[in-house]
């Protein structure tokens, strides 16, 4: 699974559109992602495969698009980086 991200790493400079229903669950995109913000779903798509899900921190580099055999990724780069969500304070956890 992906390594824990530092708060700075959760700034998103881009994002992807994922064609979930085409995905065959090969997982090649997960280790290919340099900021390690892709992980496989616990749900399955219409053809029975787990599919990648995106966490904050995407850089829009397009590595996922390059390695995907099923053409599941469309890559967008933000004009301005999107700040990440505030780090969760463990003291406030229920």
């Amino acid at each position: 699974m992906t390594a824990p991200l530092s708060p700075a790493a959760t700034v998103s400079r881009g994002t992807v559109v994922i064609a979930v229903d085409r995905c065959k669950g090969c997982e090649l995109c997960v280790p290919a992602c340099p900021p390690a913000v892709l992980s496989m779903s616990s749900q399955h798509n219409a053809i029975g495969f787990a599919y990648p899900e995106l966490a904050p921190g995407c850089t829009g580099c397009g590595a996922c698009l390059l390695v995907c055999p099923d053409f599941c990724f469309e890559v967008h780069r933000f004009e301005e980086p999107e700040p990440g969500p505030p780090p969760e304070d463990p003291a406030c956890a229920p």
Partner: protein, 263 residues
């Protein structure tokens, strides 16, 4: 926290990568999960598109899993008999010398069934580009050994690994063709990671540029994953390719401008 990836972002952004190549008719195909061949195909099509040669391109396709990808390709194509693509391409190129002529073949097609075709085509210096998708197995038959299967590689008929004393040695076709006088450009890429895919696309571009300059035979070999034929989980395919095939079929440019690299 999960991000909604079902539609393009509402935030100001520019699209830097489309789902598929501009030369793809569709994104749907029936090849196995984790297969490297669609990845290599996209690199090839992106190279044709980037050089503005789509209207002049003719592909000659061999027999293998990748033959099923022809329904994706928005280029003129000819289907050849098993292993005979270089000879069909020779005829097409001689009649239409202004075209970009490439073959699309697997290792079973090129190095088993049609080995003499590609060697003679290269030695004659035919001004075309042969493309080899090399995964070291007959993917379409379910993972049987080919002539490029490396020593120790597990296939359906070498379950204990390819043994030189029993199965013979692999043919390193890229290295062999690079030694022939008729070849202008030879490179071996890999699609096991994003950098490898990007490099492979550049190799395609250089090979096609070499052909358009009339420098003779050009050859791009691409190492591709076949987790089904290798009996490994899809996620382990890239690592297996890099360690097992990549250590024998070493990637890089082997011949540029008619000169052996490193010679």
């Amino acid at each position: 926290m999960k991000i909604d990836t079902s539609s393009p972002p509402e935030r100001a952004a520019r699209k830097t990568g489309d789902f598929a190549s501009a030369l793809q008719l569709t994104t749907d195909h029936d090849l196995c999960p984790g297969c490297g061949e669609p990845v290599a195909l996209r690199a090839l099509l992106d190279a044709v598109e980037s050089l503005g040669l789509a209207q002049r391109a003719i592909g000659v396709v061999g027999i293998g899993c990748y033959t099923a990808l022809t329904s994706l390709i928005d280029l003129d194509l000819v289907q050849a008999l098993h292993g005979r693509a270089p000879s069909v391409a020779t005829g097409a190129k001689r009649m239409r010398p202004d075209t970009l002529l490439f073959t699309l073949q697997g290792d079973g097609d090129m190095v088993n069934e049609g080995l003499q075709e590609v060697i003679h085509t290269a030695a004659r210096g035919e001004n075309l580009t042969c493309v080899l998708l090399n995964n070291g197995v007959f993917g379409e038959t379910g993972g049987h050994m080919t002539a490029t299967t490396v020593l120790g590689q597990r296939t359906k008929n070498s379950l204990e690994g390819r043994d030189a004393s029993y199965h013979g040695h692999p043919i390193l076709i890229g290295d062999l063709l690079a030694r022939l006088g008729g070849t202008g450009y030879v490179a071996r890429g890999s699609v096991h990671d994003a950098a490898g895919v990007a490099r492979t696309r550049r190799y395609f571009e250089r090979a096609f540029e070499s052909q358009m300059r009339g420098e003779g035979f050009s050859f791009v070999e691409v190492l591709t994953m076949c987790p089904t034929g290798w009996f490994v989980p899809t996620r382990e395919g890239p690592g297996y390719l890099d360690e097992v095939l990549g250590s024998v079929h070493v990637t890089g440019e082997l011949k540029v401008d008619g000169r052996l690299v490193g010679a």
